[in-house]
């Protein structure tokens, strides 16, 4: 599945960078961004709508500090899933709201997913239930509880040289 990257010009990249890192909380945010980019308010909004319909922008939202909002606990689970059981296991796992990420990976443990419970819900209980419902034996399952959160910051650099290069790559 080869997907051509969306073409971005210099102003698109600067716009993405500013909107990602610190969106202006102001009456007319597009005008504030436009001022920095040398574009009108209308031009900025038009670019934003284009980037959104092209799928580059997923959404504008707040990211909250879990630690300041009370306790969440999480784990990373891995399973060795036989190919003929993969569909079933993925269906079971994905049904859980507390499962936020679920990826197939190139390893004997070929399915990796995170389970996060907040606000008093019991992580242990959820993990046990998932194990039971998937039918994958304990011997083929890893439950790697989080001991340290060093970083969660899904941000990208749009204005560095590599993105520049990304435009010309096939």
């Amino acid at each position: 599945m080869k997907m051509e990257p969306v073409k971005l010009d210099k102003q698109d990249k600067e716009l993405l960078q500013m909107m990602q890192d610190e969106f202006p909380v102001e009456e007319r945010p597009w005008a504030v961004l436009g001022k920095k980019l040398g574009l009108s308010e209308e031009e900025v909004l038009a670019r934003v709508k284009k980037l959104s319909s092209d799928g580059v922008i997923r959404k504008l939202r707040t990211i909250l500090d879990a630690q300041k909002l009370g306790s969440c606990s999480s784990t990373l689970m891995a399973m060795k899933v036989p190919e003929d059981k993969m569909d079933h296991v993925v269906r079971v796992v994905n049904e859980y709201m507390s499962v936020t990420h679920n990826y197939r990976r190139e390893h004997d443990y070929n399915l990796w997913f995170t389970v996060t419970t907040c606000g008093g819900k019991d992580l242990e209980e959820t993990v046990e239930e998932i194990k039971r419902k998937t039918g994958i034996p304990d011997s083929d399952t890893l439950d790697l509880r989080t001991t340290h959160v060093f970083k969660i910051d899904v941000r990208f650099k749009f204005t560095d040289t590599e993105v520049e290069g990304g435009e010309t790559r096939g």
């Binding site: 890192d21 959104s52 939202r61 990211i63 679920n102 340290h148």
Partner: protein, 157 residues
């Protein structure tokens, strides 16, 4: 931490999304039932006290060519976990970094990072650079070859 029902309503709505319209905060104010100025004032406050870690866009990195990602798991002596975890977190290519329990005899890698890049080769070369920087030679690069779910944690109020 002081945070009233209006703040909670604002957080509830904005963690799902703020509309990309001419006046986003006017639109948000209508949804919450307060004035635009009040929304702006509260958002700024929640941001300054750190309840809101970030207000900004999320981007589909695949659309701009960042198509490769791997979990890179490191086997770090326990007494170095803090310092290595902190060091690896300082790289922008590392979006996530966690310390995790080990399961003796079954799983020995205790530091997990997620690395994004334009290609497998670039992810592999970043992992190698990180290894050289932190002095940990025992690491596993596990590329993703299928995404089944990707959402964010929704904080209940």
């Amino acid at each position: 931490m002081d945070k009233d029902e209006i703040d909670q309503a604002i957080l509830n709505i904005t963690q799902e999304g703020i509309p990309l319209v001419e006046e986003p905060f006017e639109e948000l104010a209508k949804q919450v039932g307060i004035s635009r100025d009040e929304v702006i004032r509260r958002l700024k406050r929640l941001r300054s006290i750190g309840v809101i870690k970030r207000l900004g866009i999320s981007v589909n990195q695949r659309k701009v060519g960042i198509v490769a990602n791997a979990v890179v798991a490191w086997k770090v002596p326990e007494e170095q976990l803090e310092s290595v975890g902190t060091l690896l977190s300082s790289y922008t290519e590392v979006t996530h970094s966690y310390g995790r329990v080990t399961i003796p005899g079954k799983w020995e890698h205790n530091l997990f990072t997620v690395i994004h890049g334009y290609s497998r080769e670039s992810v592999e070369s970043i992992a190698k650079q990180l290894s050289e920087a932190c002095g940990i030679m025992d690491y596993l690069v596990m590329f993703s070859n299928g995404q089944f779910k990707r959402t964010s944690v929704k904080h209940p109020f």
